[in-house]
């Protein structure tokens, strides 16, 4: 009975290993890039103004970051981008954040392209965990050629609940 249980355990480990090997054979590049910090364009430094997306074979997508890193990046000059609707943004947003509602992508993009250089670090956020707009906006902006887009998944609710400063638009 004991030997039987042991055999089942060993077989389970083998099945697990087969699944892991299969997964890594299909997605190994993505995992390596994630562990080396090159998953999105954040690890690809601009060189001579050339597009750097070619250095990343997997689909470029925004890097999720947590509150502490958001604060550090904002202090270092990153730009917060609010993907929520304009009226929600007006009620309160991260300090100095630009409003870029995903639903008005086509209308807002030309101004955004003019105002924001492609090598500026972007921190996209919306209404917190479960809100996909910031991630979708980040993907689109990376496709537009922005080099460093990150998603603050805690979003405005986490920022506000942490007691951090909030800006409101004048009515």
């Amino acid at each position: 009975m004991k030997a039987d249980s042991r055999a089942v355990l060993i077989e389970s480990v083998v099945i697990l290993a087969i699944g892991v090997v299969l997964g890594l054979s299909f997605n190994g590049k993505m995992v390596l890039d994630a562990f080396s910090g090159r998953l999105n364009s954040t690890g690809a430094q601009p060189s001579g103004g050339e597009a750097v997306h070619s250095t990343v074979d997997v689909q470029a997508f925004p890097l999720p970051i947590m509150l502490e890193e958001v604060r550090e990046l904002l202090a270092a000059g990153a730009l917060a981008v609010d993907a929520r609707a304009a009226e929600v943004y007006a009620e309160g947003h991260l300090p100095t954040a630009l409003s870029f509602p995903l639903g008005e992508y086509g209308q807002v993009l030309p101004d955004f392209l003019q105002q924001v250089p492609k090598d500026r670090t972007l921190i996209l956020y919306c209404s917190g965990f479960g809100c996909p707009d910031s991630f979708d906006l980040g993907e689109r902006l990376l496709a537009e050629g922005y080099l460093d887009a990150r998603v603050y998944e805690g979003g405005f609710p986490e920022w506000r609940d942490a007691g951090l400063p909030v800006e409101k638009e004048a009515p």
């Binding site: 089942v8 099945i15 699944g19 299969l22 997964g23 562990f35």
Partner: protein, 142 residues
């Protein structure tokens, strides 16, 4: 094992295999989105979310195929039972922490499934998982 128990066993084996095959295939088709769903749980360090998203759907798929083809049923059922329990623990932590996230259980682009609903679904899934695990032991002992 009685004939009725045999039917129950095969039903549970096929149901468990079918559910996990679907879950594994749809998640492996969009690993990037699934990685985001895993990251939303805030349980793993950043890069580990991608490792989990890259491998988990394939583990589910391999184990589910073994169940469906009636091969290595006990180890496959053990893996899927363990995974179901791990998912349930993760969902309980989501409820305790009050996070409003999509569970990421099946199709990453299917929309929002709350942790409570997902936990209930996993509790139902645990039944065929345990039945398959227990009865497959008796099958192999025959």
């Amino acid at each position: 094992m009685s004939r009725a128990m045999l039917y129950v066993y095969h039903f549970c084996r096929l149901a468990l295999g079918g559910v996990y095959l679907y879950a594994g295939v749809v998640k492996s088709a969009d690993v990037v989105t699934f990685a985001r769903d895993v990251a939303n749980y805030q349980l793993l360090p950043y890069a580990w979310n991608y490792l989990a998203a890259a491998t988990l759907p394939y583990v589910e798929t391999v184990a589910a195929l073994l169940l469906l083809f009636n091969r290595k049923v006990r180890p496959a059922a053990l893996i899927l039972t363990s995974l179901t329990l791990v998912f349930m623990v993760a969902l309980v932590t989501v409820l305790v922490r009050g996070l409003d996230i999509d569970c990421g259980c099946f199709n990453p682009s299917q929309g929002h499934t709350s942790a409570g609903i997902a936990l209930l679904r996993d509790a139902f899934l645990l039944f065929p998982a345990i039945v398959t695990l227990r009865l497959s032991g008796r099958m192999s002992a025959r």
